[in-house]
Amino acid sequence: MLELNPTSIAFFIFSVLSIGGALGVVFSRNLIHGALFLIVSLFGGAGLFVILAAPFLAAVQVLVYIGAIAILVIFAVMLTRSMTNIREIFNRQWWIGAIASVALLVVLVVGVILPTWGPGGTNSDIVLSETTASLQDLGVALVSGNQFVLPFEVASLLLTAAMVGAIVIARDNESY
């Protein structure tokens, strides 16, 4: 079952990065350290994408999540007061977070266990996904009329609206 080849070693390394980084985010008493742990975790995720032969997603993960969102998070953290030595680990919404994460964990575990160890074992007919698309297929799928052009456009409209909203909020009313 468990073979020790370069891919599985890389998988273990990236899994440790991913999970360890996530634990670091939760337990770190220093907000900046938490943000940096988040980057470690995201990097582990990018590595897992590479192992899954999805280099495009890996590059986008690094570019968007590490290069833009994590930097923004750090930027926001630096502008807050008392970013080191956080005393309270829990806030009032802890039970919502607990329910959401446990539910997600259950869904993922069921989704992984059923096809592999369920009826029929590894030879069962349930496959998680048959998509082994190349970069070209992804590009075509995003703009082709009978595939995902509508969700794609809706998402871009949403982002544009968010950007316009951010500019309106940030703009000084006096100057115009």
Partner: protein, 418 residues
């Protein structure tokens, strides 16, 4: 992997297997050597680059530059490196030790990793990724993170101010850079660096899409923090900015990283717009391709050094306005117009037949269309500049007729010209 032993450089693993080595070991050794070569070459090159940069800056300022250590002062930077290594390594008391020590390494990584996707010859490339261009953009965005870490962990307000400027500048100029990279990718129909250089065999992309080349060059100047965009480490304002607390070789790493980044950016310009290794005899003798690539890089690198030594620094509001009000709209217009031109070429059948793709004359008709499209973009850019100048002039005139609101309304340099 091919199993014939043609020459020792391109096919080391099969050659070693022929000599009786274990195949797995031979492949491991050849990959390891390749990685070491690609990683160490820029690190050694940077010693020479600093010498070139100091010489050029000295000539511009009517000085001689380093001329004491070694012939023409060539060994000056070796001496500097030795000095930096044996200097005491100080970590400030209030610093965040781990992040402080990690930052220079990550900064260095963010540049060295880019060399993995540079096609040196038609056959030699570190890793011919499907997503080469995107990989470059992703890796260089990590450099921002390194500078942010350095600025924050130093526990120094000047360092933090420098880091804030870095985020403002690098994240902003990433937008026009990515948009300008879209055009070569659309033209070649691929993001792989090697295929991009093969696509330029017939006609270099700087001829086909000069506007993208211009945007890429300018935003690269800003991304590498070179004058006139060197607000990141404005020596006279921020006492060197994010790296103020660093000393010894950690400071040296940041400096070397900056020089290497500037060269790497120009190297990518040569790959993406000047046809990479393309040149007479490059496919027959791969080493010639490498020489051509270095010559092309120098042709764009040296002007950027002269530019650095001559132009003054822009103000931060000018830098932001230039990016968001000029470069980004221009890049968007450029992408739209070029996409239209590419479809036009396809429908009119002007593109050369696949077997003629590397023929210069067969590429002329489509190049003509693309240049016309570029002229439209340039006209749009001219209209944008004229509009902004007129708006400034009207604002000035309005301010002059209402003298009570004038003094605070204008930044000092603008007011001087009125």
């Amino acid at each position: 992997m091919e199993n014939t032993c043609d020459n020792i450089i391109s096919t080391l693993a099969p050659c070693l297997t022929q000599l009786g080595w274990n195949q797995g070991l031979a492949e491991f050794i050849s990959t390891l050597l390749g990685v070491l070569l690609v990683a160490i070459f820029p690190l050694v090159l940077v010693i020479l680059l600093i010498w070139v940069e100091r010489k050029v800056a000295a000539r511009v300022q009517d000085r001689i530059g380093p001329n004491r250590v070694g012939p023409f002062g060539l060994l000056q930077n070796v001496a500097d490196a030795v000095k930096l290594i044996i200097k005491e390594d100080i970590t400030p008391a209030g610093a965040d030790r781990l992040i402080y020590n990690l930052a220079p390494i990550i900064a260095m990584l963010s540049v060295v990793l880019i060399w993995a996707v540079v096609p040196f010859t038609p056959y030699n490339i570190g890793a011919d990724l499907d997503i080469g261009v995107l990989y470059f953009v992703g890796i260089s965005s990590i450099g921002t993170l390194a500078i942010m870490m350095a600025g924050w962990s130093s526990n120094n307000k000047y360092a933090l101010l420098g880091a804030f400027r870095v985020v403002a500048q690098l994240v902003s100029y990433e937008v026009p850079m990515v948009l300008s990279l879209l055009v070569p990718v659309m033209l070649a129909g691929t993001m792989s660096m090697q295929e991009l250089s093969f696509a330029q065999l017939g006609m270099w992309f700087i001829v086909v899409t000069p506007v993208s080349a211009f945007i890429f060059y300018v935003s690269n100047l800003a991304e590498t923090g070179r004058a006139p965009f060197d607000l990141i480490e404005a020596e006279s304002e921020l006492v060197a900015g994010y790296n103020i607390e660093y000393s010894g070789m950690k400071f040296g790493l940041f400096m070397a990283n900056e020089f290497m980044h500037a060269f790497t950016a120009n190297l990518l310009f040569a790959v993406l717009f000047l046809g990479a290794w393309a040149g007479p005899g490059a496919t027959a003798i791969p080493f010639l391709g490498f020489v051509y690539l270095m010559i092309k890089t120098s042709i764009v690198y040296v002007p950027s050094l002269i530019l650095r030594a001559t132009v003054p620094r822009v103000r931060i509001d000018q830098m932001m306005a230039f990016n968001w009000k000029f470069l980004v709209p221009l890049a968007i217009i450029n992408v739209i117009v070029m996409a239209f031109a590419i479809m036009l070429v396809k429908t009119l059948g002007l593109a050369p037949a696949p077997e003629l793709a590397s023929d210069f004359l067969a590429n002329l008709p489509q190049t003509a269309v693309y240049i016309l499209a570029n002229l439209i973009v340039v006209a749009a850019a001219g209209a944008m500049i004229r509009g902004s100048v007129r708006r400034d002039r009207l604002a000035l005139a309005a301010a002059r007729t209402q003298p009570d609101s004038e003094p605070e309304a204008l930044p000092a340099p603008v007011a001087q010209h009125s």
